[in-house]
C-alpha cells in the first residue's frame, strides 16, 4: 500500500470518535465483544485471549466539543476524563462492552467509580497493578488480579479463557511489539522518512485495530515510508516525554516538528511498548506477564521508582539509545503524575548535561504559536550548542 493510503487510513481511524472500526469488527461476527481501557497499561493479552477486542480510549482530543463532560469536573482537573465522559454520555462508546481503568492516577481511579454509576449495564473494573516489584509479593498479588480479570472476561465471553488462549495471545502481542520496536527504531534512524505526526497515527491505529491487523499495518508503513524519498533536514533530535495519558493534539506534534525538532522517542501509547522485550510464551502465562511487568517494563511517573539512583534513568537511557540531543517535557495541564515528576526528571537531565524544554498543553489546545516558538528556540539552541 502506498504511504499516503496507509497514513490516510490511520488518520481516518484517529478521527472517528464513533469508533466505527470497533463496531465493524463486532458486526463481522455475532457475539463479539470489545473492552475499552485507558492509559497507561493493561494486559491486553487477557482481553484478546477471551476473543475480545481491546480498545484504547485516549479522550476526545481536539475533535469534540465537550458539553456535558464539563459538568462533571472542576476547572482544575485535566481534560481527558471530561472528554471521555463526553464520549460515553453521547453514545460514542456504546460499542464497548466494558471499560478498564488502570491505576495511573487518582483522576482515572475515581473515574472508574463514576463509570460504575453512570454505565451500570457495562463491565467496569479498576485495574490495579503492583508497586512492589518482587515476584513473591507484587507478583503474587498481580497474578491474582489478572486471574480476576480473566474470570470476569470468561464470564462475559461465555467461555473459558485457557492457558493456551493466553499463550497464543502473548505470541500475537510479541509480534506486535516487535513490529512497534522496529518502527521506533526506524524512526529514530530516519526521522525524516517517518515523521512523528505519521508514526503517532500508525500507533494510535493500534488502539482500535486487532493486534494482528495492526502488526501488518506497522510493517506496511515502515516499508512504504522507506520507499519514499523525503528530504533530510538539519533538525534537532529530541525525546518527547510526559504525554503518557492525555494526548497533545496532533497539530501540536506537527508544530514541534515544523519548529525544527525530530522526535526520535516518545511516551505516547505506552501500552504498546510497556514490555521492553518479548514476554515468555512457555510456562504459566499469567506469571510470564507478571514477570515482564515487574522486571522488564517501561518506566513512567505512575510507577514507583524503588531506588533513588534509578529515577529518570529510563528517559536518560532513551536519550542515549536514540541519539537524541535534548528532551521536550510536554505534560497535560493539571496532570499530577507528570507534573510531580517534572522537577525530579529535569534535575537529572541537568546532571547529565542533557538540554530540555518543558511546557504544558491540553488535548484541545488550539494556540500552537507559543509552543512552536518555544520548540523552535529549543531546536536552535541545541544546534548552537552542538556547533560550539
Amino acid at each position: 500500500m502506498p504511504l499516503k493510503e496507509v497514513v490516510e487510513r490511520c488518520q481516518a481511524l484517529f478521527e472517528d470518535l464513533h469508533f466505527n472500526a470497533v463496531r465493524d469488527w463486532k458486526a463481522a461476527q455475532p457475539g463479539r465483544k470489545a473492552i475499552g481501557f485507558m492509559p497507561i497499561y493493561v494486559p491486553r493479552e487477557i482481553i484478546h485471549a477471551a476473543g475480545m477486542l481491546p480498545v484504547g480510549i485516549f479522550g476526545g482530543g481536539d475533535q469534540i466539543e465537550v458539553i456535558q463532560g464539563d459538568a462533571y469536573y472542576q476547572s482544575y482537573i485535566c481534560r481527558i476524563p471530561r472528554s471521555t465522559i463526553e464520549l460515553g454520555v453521547t453514545g460514542r462508546l456504546d460499542s464497548l462492552d466494558g471499560m478498564l481503568f488502570p491505576s495511573i492516577c487518582d483522576v482515572i481511579r475515581n473515574l472508574s467509580g463514576m463509570w460504575q454509576i453512570m454505565f451500570k449495564d457495562k463491565y467496569v473494573r479498576y485495574f490495579d497493578v503492583p508497586q512492589n516489584f518482587k515476584d513473591a509479593i507484587g507478583g503474587e498479588y498481580y497474578v491474582h488480579e489478572m486471574e480476576i480479570l480473566r474470570d470476569d472476561l470468561a464470564k462475559l465471553a461465555g467461555r473459558e479463557v485457557t492457558d493456551d488462549d493466553l499463550r497464543n495471545s502473548i505470541k500475537v502481542y510479541n509480534e506486535n511489539r516487535r513490529a512497534v520496536r522496529d518502527l521506533y527504531r526506524y524512526r529514530s534512524q530516519k526521522p525524516w522518512q517517518a515523521p512523528t505526526s505519521e508514526v503517532y497515527l500508525v500507533m494510535r491505529a493500534g488502539m482500535v485495530l486487532p493486534p494482528e491487523e495492526h502488526t501488518r499495518l506497522v510493517r506496511e508503513y515502515i516499508a512504504a515510508a522507506e520507499a519514499e524519498s523525503r528530504p533530510k533536514r538539519d533538525n534537532a533530535r529530541v525525546v518527547l516525554t510526559g504525554s503518557f495519558c492525555e494526548q497533545p493534539p496532533l497539530g501540536l506534534i506537527k508544530s514541534i516538528e515544523m519548529a525544527g525538532c525530530y522526535i526520535v522517542d516518545d511516551d505516547f501509547h505506552l501500552v504498546t511498548r510497556w514490555h521492553l522485550d518479548d514476554v515468555e510464551v512457555d510456562g504459566n502465562p499469567l506469571w510470564n506477564l507478571s514477570k515482564g511487568f515487574l522486571h522488564r517494563s517501561a518506566d513512567t511517573p505512575s510507577k514507583y521508582t524503588e531506588r533513588r539512583e534509578d529515577k529518570g534513568k529510563f528517559v536518560v537511557d532513551s536519550v542515549r539509545k536514540s541519539g537524541a540531543e535534548g528532551v521536550v517535557f510536554a505534560a497535560a495541564s493539571f496532570c499530577d503524575p507528570a507534573l510531580l515528576e517534572r522537577p525530579m526528571l529535569l534535575e537529572i537531565l541537568d546532571k547529565h548535561g542533557i538540554p530540555y524544554t518543558a511546557f504544558k498543553f491540553a488535548e484541545n489546545t488550539g494556540q500552537m504559536a507559543p509552543i512552536r516558538e518555544q520548540a523552535g528556540t529549543f531546536a536552535d539552541s541545541i544546534k548552537l550548542w552542538s556547533a560550539a
Binding site: M114, Y126, H144, D336, P343
Partner: protein
Amino acid sequence: MTTPHNPPTPRPVAQPAAAKPKKEVLKEDSMWLQKEMINGNYHDLAIAHDVGRKVSATFVPGNLNELLMCFDFARSLPETNALQNGMRKKSGKMIMDAEREGHSEDVCTYVKADLGMMQAGQIGPTGEKLPVPDVLVLSYTGCFTFMKWFELIRQKYDCETTMLHVPYQGDGKISDNMVQYVVKQLKEEMIPTLERVSGVKFDIDRLREYMKESVKAEEDLVAVLQSAKNRPSPIDGYFGGVYYIGPMFTAFRGTREATKFYSVLRGEIEERVRLKKGPITPEGEMGEEKYRLVTEGPPNWTSFRDFWKMFYDDGAVVVASTYSKVGGVYDFGFRHDADHPLESLARYCLGCYTNLNFPQRIDMICKYIDEYQADGLLINSIKSCNSFSAGQLLMLREVEKRTGKPAAFVESDLVDPRYFSGANIKNRLESYFQMINQKRRAGSAEPAAAH
C-alpha cells in the same frame, strides 16, 4: 493528604507502659491536653537527633503509628506540618518558594508547603527546627500524590524510603488478596527496613499492646463523632471534628496520652449532650442550631476560622464529615485488632476514606444524611486534591437524587491562601441556606396541600 490538626508524639523511646502525660491536665480541658501533645511532639522531633532518636515521616491515611512506635521513632507527619503552617499563615510563602524552584502551580499544595519548608531550613510550625527524616514511610494509601511527594523528598535529601502499596478498593471490597499483599509487604519489606534504620528489633507483642490502647481511643472517638446524632448536636463534626481526629490520625494513636485524651473528650461531650448544649466555637457557645449539614472534602486551613464562622454565624452545624474519616473509618465498626496485628494494619489502610471507591463514598454520605438527620450535603472541593475532588460533581448529583436533600458546592484550597475567596464562599453558603429553607417550606406545605 489532608489531615487533622496535629502532629506527633511520644517521649523518647516509648515503651508500651511508659508514656505518661507530662502534667496532670484538668479533666474538662481536652483542648489544652491536645495542644500540649502537639507541642510536645514537635519538641520531641526537634531534639530527636540530639538524643539519638531516629525520625520517621509518614502520611495520615494509612498511618502505621503503632508499628512505628515499635521502633521508637520520633514521628513526623508532613501533611500535618503543612496544615499547621497553613493555620499559622506561613504556608503561602513556602508554596511560592517551591514554585520558584520549579514545582508546578497545578499540583498539591501540601507537597509544596512541605518542600518549601524544608528549603527554608525546616523550621516547623512551632518555630523549632525539624530534623530531616531518617526514613520515609511511604504508606501509599488513597492518594497518588503521596508516592511522588516522598520520591521528591528522597531525591533531595537522600532519605531511606520504604514503600507500602495499599491497593484501592476499586470494586468496593477488601479481598484476601489485597490483605495478603499488604501483610507480605509489611513483613518482608517494611518491618526489616524499619529494624535496620532504627536498630530496634521488631516485637510483635509490643505492637499488640499499642493496638489494645488504640482500640480504647477508637471507641471513644466514635462515641464523640456519633454524638452529633443528637439534637442539638454537641459537636461540629467538621471544623470541631479536625480537633477530635487530631491525635488519632497522627502520632498518638496507640499511646496512653491518646487514650486519656479521648476519654476526657468523650466525658466532656457526653456532658454537653446531657445539658443539651450545642458545639463550642472559637467564639464560644454556638447559638441556635438551624441547619444540620454533612460535608465532603477537607477544610481550608489558611482561613479556617473565617470559614467556620460562616457556618456558626448562620446556625449551621456539620453533623458528619467524610474528612474526619481520612485517617481511618471507625464508625462502621473497624477497630485495630491485637489478635491479628498485621492483618489489622492492612485492613486499616485499605479502609481509609480516600481508598474507598466512588459508590462507597456516596453510600457513606447518604447514610450520614439519613442517620444524622441532616438537611443536605456541602462539598468543599479542594483544588489541590484529585483524590478527593475528581468526580465530586457527580457525587453531588447522586446524593441529591438519592436523598432528595439539597447539596451545594464551594471551592477552596488547603494551604494556598491564593485560592480562598471568602466572599464567594459566603454568598454560596447563604444561598444554600435559603435553599434549605425553601425545601423545608415546600416539604411542610406538601402534606397540607394534600388535605
